[in-house]
Amino acid sequence: MSKVKKARVNPIVAIVLIIIVVAWTVPTFGVFVTSWRDSRDIYASGWWTVLPHKDIVKTGEIIIDKDIPLDAPFEIEGTSATFQQWREGVQLEDGRTLRWYGNKRTKKVEVFENKWIGFGANLTTQNYKDVLTGGTITFEDGNGNTITRQGNNFADAVLNSIAVSIPATIIPILIAAFAAYAFAWMEFPGRKPLFIMVVALLVVPLQIALIPILRDYTRWGLNGTYVGMWLAHTGFGLPLAVYLLYNYISNLPRDVFESAYLDGASPFTTFVRLVLPLSIPALASFAIFQFLWVWNDYLVALVFLGDKNRVVTAALAAMVGEKGQDWHVLTAGAFMSMIIPLTVFFSLQRYFVRGLMAGSVKG
């Protein structure tokens, strides 16, 4: 039925949508294009100049006969004008513009045409090399000055982000899945109040926890460590994880557990062999949600990692602070920081949306 309706698309709807989508995509696209441009070009012209566009370009020269008197109007290419007019430029009927070059003695006229220019950019991978290295980098700015800088060692930052994000995604899932199973299918004292606590914690802002946890970490020597990051992200991600997985696991059919129990399986075996495999859609939803959250997190990393083991967001933010105008490394860095989450996002979008729906109460 919807197919039939969609056959007649209102052109206004289509145009409005296309405008919105273009407006939404252009910012990212501009950064992407810039990250591949030569550093000198970046400072000299906007990134959009690499796109095919119409511009006035010089296409040739005409040498004027020495003997033509320049005091009266004279003719070039069949058009007549005074010297002053030639100097300012005269547009011919065929669209070309002729302009006298220099003073009267040069006897030269330049030909300009409004032409389409193709993809005329100097593409380079140098920006990415510069941003990944921790060594010294040099580049030329728009005025041709050579600038020397310390690299930002983004390669290390990417590794740090991986080392933080993967465990900080899977550890809370594992812990939450065990807990969700217990809340859904086991009897124990305090079950109900504890679960209400989980629901209450869903929207608690994490700022409330940063200072006390930081004090604990200072005491325990966990500042700047991966373990500290895993623990913190596990704590902040757990309410949503338990809540989501509880909703899923509590709706699994009861017979599954009863037959496993009759077969003599321990709860642990049931959990590992049955609950985990059956819950994969919910686990995947939360995993993507949490992974993107941890990878893109800046505040927690800033507080608990500091300058040690910098993750990509922290490295990028530091770059903005230190070299706010070095667009060639900034754009390359921004794109480096986006590749992994964008890949995850586009390949697993369906699961991500599902997690988002179920978790739209997260604080």
Partner: protein, 360 residues
């Protein structure tokens, strides 16, 4: 499957298992601290150890629980399953809330009680008042545009042939960090300054100059710079609103729209009289989520302006108080205020949860 339930574990094996677990946990941690030199090895080790030791911990704890006397075994196992989550939640969120509350009544170094001084600061200090005002701007305008645009795009895309593609592209910024988005938009707002023959490389200034306007340092314009920052949040969050609202719109039974059409209702009437009322609960959920989100907003302001030029927000002031001025009392008071603002939502969630389902 096995008959584990009847037999207790061999105590020797159990003891060995416990020792092994402790060795892996502690040894791995110490080893990790000494692997700074080879980053890639350390990364792989960190990932493997982090995951392995969590799984091992559960396995061992479960073994201990299963070796308990039959009477308490089921409860012990349940505690092993739910315990780690509960303990971490208590340590990471519940107890810190109480500790932060206590800190908020103490001086900068948490040495002596100062009563309500930190709250007095929070509600009278000009910087704080400015931050409150800006947060209000974020909450009102940011949320309004996210939700409105989200609805409009969801409704329009529903009628489009390339719905999936359009929605993906609008949704894409959700995968980008706020810091990354900061760089993207800083580049759009880039300003080269006055001077002869300056070619603007920032998109906004290029557009403005192309239409004969004057290039500006957008992020330095008092008051209005807040809106240039809010645009970034709209760009990031509209996709979220759109996706959730879109699925709500698709859940509207087709017959209702058909019936309205038969009665002669046009698209606008259908939109305002059927679609909007029907998805109202979803609109409220999405609005609440984005309101909370804009209340806690930090990264964008931090990266774009650092809170300078009149763009400060509460979460950034929290960070500044704690880490720049080293005043944990004032920072804690700010955190408590953030929590108090959110408490109504928290209560609503609890009521909603109790009304919707009781634990089986």
């Amino acid at each position: 499957m096995s008959q584990d339930i009847e037999t207790n574990r061999n105590p020797v094996i159990l003891a060995a298992q416990v020792i092994l677990t402790i060795v892996v946990l502690v040894g791995g941690f110490i080893l990790l601290q000494h692997m700074q030199s080879v980053k890639i090895l350390m990364t792989i080790f960190a990932v493997l150890w982090g995951l392995g030791s969590t799984a091992l911990l559960f396995f061992t704890l479960n073994m201990i629980a299963e070796s308990m006397p039959r009477k308490i075994r089921a409860t012990a196992v349940a505690f092993v399953f739910a315990g780690p989550a509960v303990i971490i939640l208590l340590w990471a969120l519940v107890i810190p809330t109480l500790r932060t509350l206590r800190l908020s009544f103490m001086d900068a170094n948490a040495r002596s009680f100062v009563g309500l001084a930190n709250y007095k600061f929070a509600f009278t200090n000009p910087t704080m008042l400015e931050a409150f005002r800006n947060n209000l701007l974020w909450m009102i305008f940011g949320t309004f545009f996210c939700v409105t645009l989200g609805i409009i795009i969801a409704v329009l895309a529903d009628k489009s042939r390339h719905e999936k593609l359009f929605k993906s592209l609008i949704f894409m910024p959700m995968a980008i960090s706020f810091v990354g988005a900061g760089v993207i938009w800083k580049f759009i707002y880039a300003y080269k300054g006055e001077g002869f023959n300056v070619t603007e490389i920032g998109l906004l200034n290029a557009i403005v100059t192309a239409f004969g306007g004057k290039a500006q340092a957008w992020l330095l314009i008092p008051f209005w710079n807040n809106f240039f920052l809010i645009i970034i949040m709209i760009w990031l969050q509209t996709g979220y609103a759109m996706v959730i609202l879109s699925s709500a719109i698709k859940a509207i039974p087709g017959e209702i729209n058909e019936a309205a059409r038969v009665d002669g209702a046009n698209s606008f009437t259908i939109f305002f009289k059927i679609t909007i009322p029907y998805i109202m609960p979803t609109i409220i959920t999405v609005t609440t989520t984005i309101l909370i989100f804009s209340l806690k907003l930090f990264d964008i302001v931090r990266v774009m302006t650092g809170g300078n030029f009149g763009t400060n927000v509460i979460a950034n002031e929290f960070y500044l108080r704690q880490f720049t001025y080293g005043n944990s009392g004032q920072a804690s008071a700010i955190a408590i205020i953030l929590l108090i603002v959110i408490v109504p939502v928290l209560i609503y969630n609890l009521k909603d949860f109790r009304g919707r389902r009781t634990l089986k």
